[in-house]
């Protein structure tokens, strides 16, 4: 897996691009939770004797786009009850949380170790990686994470994920400022 910190970085940069500046704290918390939640399957692996290659194993169904769709619908139905179902804003939230949650599996498919990701689950439990896997896989153990290995993983994630996210945010910020400037000039 990529680290929970990096999944949160993805969540924060996505939130920034989606947010109109009026989103509540709930929105930000849900964004982070949504992008990190698929890794809750580690509990089964570490405690419940569920092997990683099992349907519900680590990087199994919970890392699939189907689960991402279910999770996004659940989140919007529970936490955005005031939104009219099937309205434009409702769909925006569903799509946003779906992309965030699905990004978890896709990001893990770019890592260079562990099991592949069950991207087509529940149709098949076959595990997949992308042909290009530049990101160092993060160890599951916290002890290992706070070692040289964890440091290597973080550096790799900074290069391949944090930096592009930062550039994306800078690009958006410049675009917004330019828009405000042009709008101010025209008005």
């Amino acid at each position: 897996m990529a680290t929970i910190i990096t999944h949160s970085v993805i969540a924060l940069s996505s939130s920034y691009s989606f947010s109109s500046g009026k989103e509540s704290l709930k929105f930000w918390i849900l964004s982070i939770a949504c992008s990190s939640l698929p890794d809750a399957d580690v509990i089964g692996y570490r405690w419940l004797y569920i092997p990683s290659y099992h349907f519900f194993g680590h990087r199994g169904f919970f890392h699939s786009p189907v689960f991402a769709a279910l999770l996004s619908l659940f989140i919007v139905c529970i936490f955005y009850r005031k939104e009219v179902i099937f309205s434009n804003q409702w769909w925006k939230y569903v799509l946003y949380f779906f992309i965030l949650s699905a990004s978890h599996g896709l990001l893990d498919a770019l890592t260079n170790g562990g099991n592949g990701i069950a991207l087509l689950s529940p149709i098949t439990n076959e595990r997949y990686f992308f042909p290009w896997t530049p990101i160092e896989v993060s160890p599951l153990s916290i002890k290992a994470f706070f070692s040289q290995r964890g440091f290597t993983v973080l550096i790799s994630e900074m290069i391949w994920i944090w930096a592009p996210c930062l550039l994306f945010i800078i690009f958006l910020e410049l675009k917004r400022r330019k828009y405000k400037y042009v709008k101010g000039f025209l008005l």
Partner: protein
């Protein structure tokens, strides 16, 4: 604040594992006792770099997963790389197992600690001529 709590909870959960050693496991039947002995022999073989001992525990038609790339090898191929793998890897500690015995076959799920790695390994065992053998393992 909530993000911090979430992170701490996940951290605590992830840092805990099945730390109770295999030696403490109380077998519920003679079959489980035999399986425990094999696993203890396996652990001993790995930790003393005794490739011959490990080889004797494995069934001739076994399929064994190996390496980070999780390739499955036959016993014949596995024993060829075994001495090198033993020399290159730290010692192991097996944890509390979960055993399922059905006739002459058994499945043992067990947590293995090796260096900083702690993961679940599933051993498939087979009873042949009154002796249990490792028929395969996956992780």
């Amino acid at each position: 604040m909530k993000q911090l709590v979430f992170f701490i909870v996940i951290t605590v959960i992830a840092s805990c594992g099945q730390n109770e050693p295999l030696t403490n496991y109380e077998p519920k039947s003679p079959q489980e006792q035999a399986l425990k002995s094999i696993l203890l022999d396996f652990q001993g073989g790995v930790n003393t770099l005794d490739a011959k001992k490990i080889e004797s525990l494995i069934h001739p038609k076994a399929s064994l997963m190996t390496g980070r790339e999780r390739k499955t090898l036959s016993k014949e191929k596995y024993v060829k790389i075994l001495p090198k793998r033993l020399a290159g890897n730290p010692s192991i500690a097996l944890g509390k197992p979960k055993m399922t015995v059905a006739g002459d076959k058994a499945e043992v799920k067990i947590y293995m600690t090796r260096g900083n790695y702690n993961g679940l390994v599933v051993y498939n065992m087979i009873l042949e001529d009154n002796k249990w053998y490792i028929q395969g393992w996956k992780y």
